[in-house]
Symmetry: C2
Subunit: 201 residues, 2 copies
């Protein structure tokens, strides 16, 4: 069986990754990765569907064992991307998409060299500021912090395989599909070459 593709999507908060991703997923054979968390399950949560639920102690042991591509703590609860789940899925031929911040993305690339890294952002920082301010849900100092983080994150864009500029939603979804298709074709043609080289075809 052929291995699945692993797509890593990063980009600043406010770049519109979430919206683009949910549109993208409608027509594609990709699954979002499932995170582990130490927060208590809430009504509607399902083990292994919404999250993998762990106790704080279990989560910390997983951290010590290097079992996460990345993890973070929000409001006293841990959230992380388990390596094993992602690797099992791609080894079983499933295509996985990870929405993950830049440092975590570099970790993924180190573990899975044929992962495809896509960086999504707004055309420029002014557009990003406008989008973040447009939400009207966050105090100005949170917005300023996010913009500062965005400038730091964008420095990593050069380490990514593809850059997608999110200007207009429909166009961006179609750009993302084209990028994924290009990456898929490249992998396919490489795999065909490997077979041909070995005289299997």
């Amino acid at each position: 069986m052929n291995k699945g593709m692993l797509i890593v999507l990063s980009g600043p908060s406010g770049s519109g990754k979430g919206t683009v991703l949910s549109e993208f997923l409608k027509g594609e054979d990709f699954k979002l990765s499932i995170s582990a968390t130490s927060r208590k399950p809430r009504p509607g949560d399902k083990e292994g569907i919404t999250y993998f639920f762990k106790t704080k102690e279990e989560f910390e042991k997983m951290i010590d064992n290097g079992e996460f591509f990345e993890y973070a703590k929000f409001n006293g609860n841990y959230y992380g991307t388990p390596k094993k789940y992602v690797l099992d899925q791609i080894n079983n031929g499933k295509n996985i998409i990870l929405e993950i911040e830049v440092q975590g993305a570099m970790q993924v690339k180190a573990s899975v060299p044929d992962a495809v890294l896509i960086f999504m952002t707004t055309p420029d920082i002014k557009v990003l500021r406008k989008r973040l301010e447009g939400r009207q849900t966050e105090p100005q100092e949170v917005i300023e912090q996010r913009l500062k983080t965005a400038l730091e994150e964008v420095e990593y864009a050069d380490c990514y395989d593809y850059l997608v500029i999110n200007d207009e939603l429909e166009q961006t979804v179609s750009d993302l599909k084209a990028v994924v298709e290009t990456a898929r074709e490249k992998t396919k043609s490489n795999l065909e070459f490997i077979k041909k080289f070995k005289g299997e075809i």
Copy 2:
């Protein structure tokens, strides 16, 4: 100052990497990386030009400190690619090309995510066999071992950014130049985007 490019070239023994590389280097602003070795300097050797010469003990300490992308032992002497030299060069804006085997290449990619990985090989294993046998310098069992290693290495081709098939020398050199130019343009356009995003242009 802009960072230099780091190109990593891998491919089976007999794929013609050496010949292609020396043709490529004639017209390009790239330097080969300099290896460290524990072998004794010979007439004509120059410290820091042909090799970085180390005692066996110094070399082993560098191994323990993780100072090599890769190292190997031939005829009782160590040879290795020092991380610090490569990173210093690219940080000083120099373009470096590393000829390195597949496991080492994966190490480089983990340390330097924007390194450009190029895999070079013959059109198929039969051509490789013909080239290795044509050398008439090696016993048959060495050739069989090299072919076996080649089949293992080619499996990694899919983890590389570009695949270059070495069929005819002149064409391959021109393909390699085109691949390097594409990678350079991609980096340049990414860097321009980063500046534009930040409102610097």
